[in-house]
Symmetry: C2
Subunit: 445 residues, 2 copies
């Protein structure tokens, strides 16, 4: 359904009921795609005319700013209805994304008990399991019969995030087992939960990093992972759709860091110019500072450069090749660590591998250099100088490029921060030193 | 459970039944983690003693080579049992990963009907929806009652990938509707499927790219997406766990390309040295070639460099700053396109934004340069030359860095290929040309 159609419908029909009927034929996600481009008046008319559950699902696809703006102008009755249909993790996320005073007004739309639950959710760090979880799950007791559970599901199904797993808790709320809907359906009405539940529990603590929850879920192919407090009590679940978002967001964060930007934290097109500036200028200036070394080195060897001006012709080539081989190694290793293929235990193996790889890549580049020098008639000595340097620079680039991220992870840093730009600078500095050392040796300067 | 414990158990107990009992308490994924490190004999003993369904689930977590090796040595009966418990997409993937003759032996383990189904699956391109789908879904007719469907589910639940969605097909096999397990449970036993099914169908064609299927599923938060042939007939489904793998693999591919490597296609630690070499040397040599321009430019301006040797001091700084700003822009835009935040429609908006951003970043860097030149006593004229160049280079780097990937996407290329290394080279070349133009203007060379 195109935006123009919607606007036309609204204008022509002037019948919000009819428009809502048509929109209900769409998926909430598709309606959400249209909302941001509509004028505010049209947006509100649409949101008011949708059933609260549908409106809530649509709202969850919008940015926090837009979510709040719509709820704020919806009118109290409609806003209350919609807010109460939002999933608990969505409400918590929204409360955390807006000004505290706005968060209070949002929470005021909820009944007191639920409000406290959501408030508790907002106390968890945003990128922790607790910060991602929802409290909309089904818990059962192990003494219930299959039939009792089915009846219970029919009562609460509308209010929960998933009915695929039913979590078994004891009288203290501690997680003791889990059963899938499939196992439930395959059981007999008279069977008790304890007869068919699984006690093979995989869970994460509320304070664990969201990436850990994501990885557990992805490894075991679970639709949801239960979250427990230190006492083993079930406090929430993280569902697969949130995990998919986590995986995608974490990859985006890593990619942006590897490119030399601070993570944007929101879709690119929605970031304003000055925020983009702030996210990038820091790195540029830092690397500018680090680059001072190269200027100092070159100044130090001013004499060499005066004697053999041709030495300068190859500087960009050496610098970029060092940067490229460093980037190849570091991006590969950083990503391998992110998906769990490499852990700090593998440090020596990885460095040894990259050193040998750097050697044969460096020899290849050295051969290419000699060939080029020969074709350009640059002279054997100069060609050899550049060749030796390029061999060394690729070797150093690959080895350092692979080693630094692992060391960084070991020291508790985000390995993506030790990214291509930083490694490039190290490779440059060492490369230039090697260059002039080789020039001294080979060209006799 | 630690590897040593498993080995000890096997040695001590010499009782495969007991060992299997213990392993069955684990998750298949955890057993799969142990398998590669066990000696071949132990592996087979374990796989033989596990129930076929559990063994199959464990097998699916292993690399194709290991999967085939185990099946090959398992003995015909055991191999047949396990192979028939593998999900259809797993069998198809395995058949595609091994030598054709080995694939035939694998398929020979399956009953003829099923064998043809799997064979059909292998004809789809690996990274298409058809190449990812499984045929293990439940289809129903819209005239069935809720009760009939529940009975049907109890019969087939063990053999299907998911019971969460039931796909409604007509007598020609065309997909006409879908219902969720939740809606099924909430319906009355006498209701007919057509009464509670949804006709709001989201599906992908078998020839569509896997990324499209992944994006649909991720956008709509579906647990599975149906796959149809051109006639609208249901041919398979792609489940969320496969989509999570797709999202992660596609991100890894992009990251590796952006770092200047050909995608590895397998976990980093499993790639042998010469494959790693092949994946990297191409780019290094290509960029080496592109770098020739910088050498030629510098040679052309040999005179300038002889007159003012200090010009060389800033070359690495300029080159790296251009590369960094280009990388910042390109990695951000490439990723934004990958997650759907930016489309080619946004070209002018993005380029205009990056141009303005490049301007203020460039002005910042120019100011930093002038400050540094002042502190180093490099002289006003030289400082100004470098400052002007750095302003231009950051402006060019940001704009070109953002524009090229979008243009590339428009022309049908993978934007990640037009990555930082390539954009760096362009920024370098233009940067040097601007440098010497500024030197001529300001220094009067």
């Amino acid at each position: 359904m195109e935006l123009e159609d919607v606007l036309r419908l609204l204008a022509e029909l002037d019948d919000d009921e009819r428009v809502a009927e048509i929109l209900r034929e769409q998926q909430p996600y598709d309606v959400a795609e249209l909302i941001p481009d509509l004028p505010a008046e049209a947006r509100l008319r649409i949101m008011r005319s949708l059933p609260p559950a549908f409106a809530a699902e649509t709202l969850e696809h919008l940015t926090p700013e837009l979510q709040y703006s719509i709820l704020d102008h919806l009118g109290e009755d409609a806003a209350t209805a919609v807010a109460n249909e939002l999933s608990s993790d969505a409400v918590a996320d929204l409360a955390l994304s807006v000004h505290p005073r706005q968060a209070e007004r949002l929470l005021a739309l909820l009944p007191p008990d639920y409000r406290e639950v959501v408030r508790k959710l907002t106390t968890y760090p945003e990128s922790s399991a607790g910060g991602r979880m929802t409290v909309d799950y089904i818990s059962v007791r192990q003494t219930w019969t299959q039939d009792q559970v089915m009846q219970h599901i029919r009562k609460v199904a509308k209010d929960v995030e998933t009915i695929n797993y039913l979590y078994v808790v004891d009288q203290d709320g501690r997680l003791t087992g889990v059963t899938s809907l499939r196992d439930l359906i395959l059981a007999q009405p008279g069977d008790r939960v304890q007869d068919f539940m699984s006690t093979r529990l995989i869970a994460v603590t509320a304070t664990a990093d969201q990436e850990e929850a994501a990885r557990e879920l992805a490894n075991y192919d679970f639709l949801a992972v239960p979250v427990t407090d230190p006492a083993g009590r079930l406090v929430g679940i993280i569902t697969w759709d949130d995990v998919m978002d986590v995986i995608e967001e974490e990859a985006t964060e890593d990619i942006q860091r590897m490119g030399g930007t601070e993570p944007l934290g929101e879709p690119y097109m929605e970031v304003n110019l000055f925020t983009l500036y702030r996210k990038r200028v820091g790195w540029l200036l830092l690397l500018f500072l680090a680059q001072s070394f190269t200027g100092t080195i070159l100044k130090h060897f001013e004499g060499f450069l005066s004697q053999v001006v041709a030495l300068t012709f190859f500087i960009p080539l050496l610098i970029d090749t060092g940067g490229n081989s460093g980037a190849q190694a570091s991006t590969t290793v950083i990503r391998a660590m992110a998906v769990g293929d490499v852990t700090p235990i593998d440090f020596l193996r990885v460095v040894w591998r990259e050193a040998r790889l750097g050697l044969i890549l460096g020899l290849t580049m050295a051969a290419a250099t000699l060939l080029r020098a020969f074709l350009l008639g640059s002279g054997v000595a100069l060609g050899l100088t550049v060749a030796v340097t390029i061999l060394a620079i690729v070797l150093v680039g690959s080895t350092v490029g692979a080693a630094l991220p692992i060391i960084g992870r070991r020291l508790g840093f985000d390995p993506a921060v030790l990214s291509a730009p930083l490694i490039t600078t190290i490779a440059d500095t060492l490369g230039l030193l090697i260059y002039f050392w080789a020039a001294r040796m080979i060209l006799g300067l």
